[in-house]
Symmetry: C3
C-alpha cells in the first residue's frame, strides 16, 4: 500500500481519474540490494522511495519505529510557527509555477544553487523564465543529495503530486509540466489543501502594523473551519540596528495615537499586541543577534530611547536597548499571555554585495556562537518563575542543547526547548537534538514541531519528516530498554498534539 | 535468570522469605513486539525491564556487549568521588522515607518536577508529607521518560527493592509502602548495603575544617572492611566570591593557629590537607566558574590577598585570586600527592529568588561555555610535567571533549579526562563522551567512573549504567573491527579497576 | 580473499618469494563470537583484522557499505595536502628504521607515549636506539587501543608489510626485524611505492624560499609519471608572532630583489608564489591562531608593516597584520589562481619546557575555540563571490561544522569544507563531520580527503580509512531511504576523484 500516495494524492488528484495519471513515470532508481520488494500490483507504479524512509536500519528497531510512526502519520497538523502569508489562504489564490513553489522562494534551495555556481540573478529574477530555473535545479540535484532539502522535496513531489521519480535533467520538463498542470486543479488551491493536509492550526508571521484583514476574513468565514493565527514579529520596531528603525518607531507610535517618548512607545507596542490577540495570536516572535537581556531603571530606559531615536547612540547603547526591549517583550507576555519565542544567533546578510543586489533572505544568514545562561538571566530573574509565562528558545548553535537549553527548561517552568530551527527537516540533526536534550529534560519540556516554512505545499512533508524521526528516536530507546513501548506510544501521540498545544497555548 | 534481582535483592531482602514478596506486583508493561520472552517460570514475576537494557540494538553487537558486561557486572564498586555523608555509614543510620531517598535530596529530580509546575516548597519542605511528594513524583513520570533519572530510578527499584513495575499514580502508595517496609530491614542499613553493593572504596566530599571523626571511626572499626575516604573541598575558602569568604578564611587560619597574611593562609590550607591525608584522603576537589589559573609573584599575591580580605577587591581581583589559588592547589598537590580534580563551568544559583527561598543545590545551576587550553596553561606550564601530579578535568560543556580535554590528556602525563559529570548516568551522553575522546586519547587517559551522588542507594545502579554503556561502546568497536575482542575484554576489566585506581591513586 | 594483503603486499613483497614470508606470524587474536570465518586456504595466514573493518555493524547497511567501498578501494590516490618531503621521492631514498617510520616522526604517536609516562627524550633522540623506541611503543599498545593511530598502524603493518598480527611486547623484536628487512627491498623505495600505492598526485608543504629543486627534478624525469606538487606555506613570513619574523621577511625581500617597504614585501610574496606556480603548485596553506581577517587602507597597512618590522608593535598590531596578510593571500589567490587553504584554531607549543627541549611538533599543540562567521567576513566580503577563488576551511573545533562551515560553503561558491583535519583517520570523528555538514551542504561542497601526513608509508591506509568511512556514511543514508543507491555510487566515485580535483584545481 502506498501510504503517502494514498493520504494526499487521492485527495488532491483523485477527481482527475486514475491515480498518478498526471505523470507517467517509470521506475528509474536501482533497487538497493536486500530491500524488500513486493510483486507488481496492477496499476500501482513502483515507488522510487522507501516506505520506511528515515526509519533506523536495524530491523527490530525499525519495526518498533514503524509502529510508532503509524500512530501519528495521519494525525492533524499543528503549525504554530511559519511564514505562509494569510492572504494566500484567505484569497484561495492558485499557486504559481513549480520554480516559485520549490526554488525561488526558499533560501535553503537558492543558497546551495548559488554555491554550486549559479548566479542569484538567474534564480530570483521575477521576470525570468521559471522553467529555466527549474532546469537549473534539476541539473544540480547531486549537490542536494543527502541534504534536508532533498528529503522534503522528494516527499512533496510524491505525496502532493504523485510523482515517484527523482528529478533529473532528462525529466525536468516533463515534471515541470505535470506540476504546472496539477497546480491548475481546484484541489490544489490553498483551502482545499488545508483539508487535504489536515492542518488544524496555522500561524503566520506578521508585521506589528499589519491590519490582519486576511486573518479576520478567515475567522469570519463559516466555510473555513481551521485556525489561521497571526504572530507578532516586532524586530524592526525594537532593534535599533534594523533598517529604518527610527521611522518604523514613528509609524508605530503614530498608528496607535501614542504619546511621544519611551512610555508612549511601549504603549504602542502593547496596543498592537492587543490587536494581534483580538485576531487570535498566541505568540510573539523575536529574532536577535544574541539573547542578551537587560532590566533598566525607567529613567535610564527613557534616556536610552532618546539616544537611539536621536542618533547619538553607540553600538553598546543599541545592544542595551535591544536587550531591554527583549526584557520588555517578556514583561508584556506576562501581562497579556502571549507566548514569547526567541530566534537568536544569526549574522544576517553576511554578503553585503548580495544583500544590496537581492535583498534579505537570499541564503547568506550565517550562524554565530550563542550562549543563553548569563544572557537570558536578567529576563529569567524577573519572569522565569511567573505562572503562565512561556518562553520558547530556538537556536542554530547545537552546542547549547545539552549545555544550556536542557538545564534551563529542566528547571524553569516557563522555558521550553524549541524544535531545532534550521535543522527542522534534517533527520540527523533532529536526532542529535533529541539525544542532547532528552536525558536532561525529557520530551515534555519541548515546543513540539514547528515547520517555519514559507512553502505551503511542503508542510505535510516537513511534519512527516519530524514524525518519522521522532518515531526512530523513541524506537531506539524502546530497543535499548530505556522506555516501555506503551510510554513511547503515549509520547509520540503527545508530540504531535498536547505538547505543541501546551507550549503555544493552543 | 534475573541478573540484577539476584545480585542485590537476594542479599537485601532474602531473609524476608520468598523473593520480591515485599511488593506484589503484576506485569503492567506491554511487551515490545519481537522482544524475546521466555516461558513463565513459577514464582518469578515477569520483569518490566529488559535484561539487555542500554545495550545496542544490533544483535551481533549486543551479543558482544552482553559478554563484555557480564565480565564486570558483579565487579567491586570503586567510588572515588561522591557526596554520601560519612556519618551515614559510621552511624549505620537507617534511611528515611522513599521521598527523601529518591526525590527531595536529588536536585536532578526536583528540578524537573519544578519545571513541570510543582512548587519547590512542596518538594523540599522538611515538615511536609513525604508520601505526597512521592505521589507528585509518580504523577509526573512521563516528564522523566527518557531521562537519566528514569534509568537509574527504575534500576534501583528493581535491584534494591525487587520492584519490577514502573511507578505510576495507581501504584504510588503501594510502592511507597513497600519501600518504607523494606527500609526498616537491617539489611537495608548502610553497612549491610556496603557489602551487598560490593563497594570497596567510597570517597566523601568534605569541608576543610571537618574534623573527619566519622572517617576516623570507620577506619578504626575492625568490623568495617571497606575504605571511606574524605575529599578536601576548599571552594568556600579559596573563592572570594563565595558567601562569607572572609569569615571562612579567618576561621580556617584560626583553626590551624596560622600566622596572619597570605603565607599563614597557605600554611593553614596545607595543614588541613595534611589532616585529610592522615584520614585517608586521596584527592582535592575544586569547583570554579572557569578554569582560569595564574602564577603570581609572592608579593603581588600578598597584596591581592589583602585586597580580597580587606574589601577593596574588584571582580578582576577576585578572578585573579581564584585563579592563583587553583594554581596553589596544584602546587600543594605536587608537594603532598593529593590528586586535584576540577569541576568548572557552572553558573551556580541562577534563580536568585529560588536561592533565597530554598538555598543552593536546588536545581538551577546552569552550565557556561568553558575553555581549558589557555585558562589552564599557567598551571600546566608549572606542574603539567611533574612526576606524580594528577589533574582530573571534568566538564559540562561537551564541546571541549575532543577539542581540549583529549589533546591535553593525550600529551600531559598529569592530565586525566574526567567521566562526564552531569551526564554520568546518561547513556547517550556517555557514548558521545567516549566517541569524542577515544580516537585521540584512548581509554587509559580517563578517570574511570565516578558516581558523584548523594543517594547511597542509587550507587550500584549508576555504576551498572556505566558498565553497560562502556560495554556497548567497546562492542561497537569490536564489531567494526577496530578492537580485538581480547583487548576489549582487558579494557572493560581495567575500566572498573586499574583505571580509577591509577587516576585516583587508590 | 585478502583484499589489502593482495593490493599492496603482492606488489611490494611479491618478488621475495611466498607471500608474507617476511614475517612468520601465527594467529593471536581471539575470534569475535559470531564473526564469519572461512576455512583455512593453504598458504594464506589468517588475518588478524576484519575485512569489513570500519563498516557499520547492521548487516544490510554493511552489505551496502561494502559494495560502495569496493568501487573505490583500488582507486588512485590523490593527496592534495601533506608533509612528505619531495627530496624523499626525488632521491628515491630508502626509508629508515621502523621507529623512525611509525613513531619518532609522528607527533600523534609520541604525544600519547609521553602521556603514558615515557620521556620525550627517549622517543625523539636521533642518537638513541630505534629498537628501544619500538619496544616502548609495543609495551604501550593498550594506550593506543581504540585510537586513530591504532587504525592506520595496524592497516599499514598488514597492507605494506604483510604483518597480520598485532604488535605486542612479545613479538616486538620479530616485527622490528621483519620491517627492517622489508625496508631494504627495492620495492620499498619511494618511487616503487608511488606505483604500488597508486598515488597520482602528491602535494608537499614548502617554505616560500625553497628553490623546489626536488620538484623540478621529478617533473623533468621521464621515468617518473606522477605529480609531486609544492604547496606555498608562508606562515613564518606573514605572522609577526613567528620566531625570527623580521629576519624571515628580510631574507624574503632580499631573495626576490624587492624594494623595501610594504609594497616590496607584497611583491616578494607574489614573486615566490609565481615561482611555486611554475613548479606546479596548486595551493597556498596558512595556519593561524584564529581566522580573523582585515582589509586595510594601503597607507595604514604600510605604517603597520613598519611597526611590526621596527619592533614597536603591540599584540593588537600583530593580530591586525596577520589578519590583513591573510586577506592579502586571498587577494593574491584571486589574481594567480592558487587555492587558499586555512588551518586555524591551534595554540602551538602549549608546553614551553617541552618546546625548549624538543622543538615544535612534539605533540602539545592544543586546539582553541574557533569562530569563522565574523572573523572571515572581511575576506569574504572582498573575495567570496570572485569567480575561480577557492578557499578551503579546516578546523579542529567540531562546533563550527554545522554552525558555520556548512552555511558558509552552502552559500559562497568559493568556500569548501575541508576534511576533518586532526580527525582525518578517526572514523567516529569523520562520521560526526559528515553528519554535521551533509544535511546543509551535501557532498559536493567539501574538499575531498587530504591525508596531511609526514609518513609516506601510511598514505594508503589513511585513504583506505576515509573510503571505508565514507562508504559507511553513504550506506546508512541508502538504508534510511535518504539516497538512492545509484546516487550513492556516483558520490563515492566522486569523493575520491572529481571532488578533490575540483576543490584543489587538479
Amino acid at each position: 500500500m502506498q501510504w503517502h500516495g494514498n493520504r494526499l494524492s487521492s485527495t488532491v488528484t483523485g477527481e482527475r481519474g486514475p491515480r498518478h495519471s498526471a505523470v507517467s513515470c517509470s521506475p528509474r532508481v536501482r533497487r538497493v540490494r536486500g530491500a524488500a520488494s513486493g510483486p507488481d500490483r496492477g496499476f500501482q507504479l513502483p515507488s522510487a522511495r522507501d516506505h520506511d524512509r528515515l526509519l533506523p536500519g536495524e530491523p527490530r528497531t525499525r519495526d518498533i519505529a514503524r509502529g510508532l510512526y503509524e500512530r501519528v502519520r495521519s494525525a492533524p497538523v499543528i503549525s504554530p510557527h511559519g511564514h505562509v502569508p494569510a492572504e494566500t489562504v484567505a484569497g484561495n489564490l492558485p499557486f504559481g509555477n513549480p520554480a516559485d513553489l520549490f526554488i525561488s522562494s526558499d533560501h535553503y534551495v537558492i543558497r546551495l544553487l548559488h554555491a554550486a555556481g549559479e548566479p542569484l540573478q538567474d534564480l530570483v529574477d521575477p521576470g525570468g523564465d521559471p522553467r529555466k530555473v527549474w532546469r537549473t535545479f534539476a541539473r544540480h540535484q547531486s549537490h542536494f543529495a543527502g541534504t534536508a532539502v532533498a528529503v522534503w522535496f522528494a516527499d512533496s513531489l510524491e505525496t502532493v503530486f504523485g510523482i515517484h521519480e527523482p528529478l533529473n535533467e532528462e525529466n525536468a520538463d516533463k515534471l515541470y509540466d505535470a506540476i504546472s498542470t496539477a497546480l491548475m486543479s481546484p484541489a490544489m488551491r490553498p483551502r482545499a489543501l488545508f483539508d487535504a493536509f489536515r492542518i488544524t492550526v496555522l500561524a503566520t508571521t506578521d508585521d506589528p502594523l499589519d491590519p490582519l484583514e486576511a486573518h479576520a476574513e478567515l475567522a469570519a468565514d463559516p466555510s473555513f473551519a481551521h485556525r489561521v493565527l497571526p504572530t507578532f514579529r516586532p524586530d524592526r520596531y525594537i532593534d535599533p540596528g534594523a533598517n529604518g528603525f527610527r521611522e518604523n518607531v514613528e509609524r508605530l507610535t503614530a498608528a496607535t495615537g501614542g504619546a511621544p517618548g519611551f512610555k508612549g512607545y511601549l504603549d504602542a507596542l502593547r496596543a498592537r499586541r492587543e490587536h494581534f490577540l483580538r485576531h487570535g495570536a498566541v505568540s510573539v516572535d523575536v529574532g536577535v543577534e544574541d539573547p542578551f537581556t537587560a532590566q533598566l531603571d525607567p529613567r535610564e530606559a527613557e534616556r536610552l530611547f532618546a539616544r537611539v531615536m536621536g542618533g547619538g547612540a553607540t553600538d553598546a547603547d543599541r545592544r542595551l536597548f535591544r536587550g531591554h526591549l527583549l526584557w520588555r517583550m517578556a514583561e508584556m507576555s506576562v501581562e497579556d499571555g502571549l507566548v514569547l519565542t526567541l530566534h537568536p544567533g544569526v549574522r544576517r546578510n553576511h554578503s553585503t554585495r548580495t544583500f544590496r543586489g537581492f535583498g534579505a533572505d537570499t541564503g547568506h544568514d550565517i550562524p554565530l556562537r550563542t550562549a543563553f545562561t548569563d544572557e537570558l538571566r536578567p529576563l529569567l530573574e524577573s519572569f522565569g518563575l511567573e505562572a503562565g509565562f512561556h518562553l520558547v528558545l530556538f537556536t542554530v548553535d547545537e552546542t547549547v542543547y545539552s549545555r544550556e537549553l536542557a538545564p534551563l527548561a529542566g528547571f524553569y517552568p516557563s522555558v521550553f526547548i524549541g524544535a531545532p530551527w534550521w535543522f527542522l527537516d534534517a533527520p540527523d540533526a533532529i536526532l542529535r537534538w533529541r539525544a542532547a536534550i532528552t536525558e536532561t529534560a525529557g520530551f515534555y519540556r519541548t515546543s513540539g514541531f514547528i515547520d517555519d516554512t514559507r512553502a505551503f505545499l511542503s508542510i505535510p512533508s516537513r511534519h512527516d519528516v519530524s514524525r518519522r524521526v521522532d518515531a526512530s528516536f523513541l524506537a531506539r530507546y524502546v530497543t535499548e530498554g530505556r522506555l516501555g513501548l506503551q510510554m513511547a506510544e503515549t509520547i509520540i501521540d503527545d508530540l504531535v498534539a498536547t505538547i505543541p498545544r501546551k507550549a503555544f497555548k493552543l
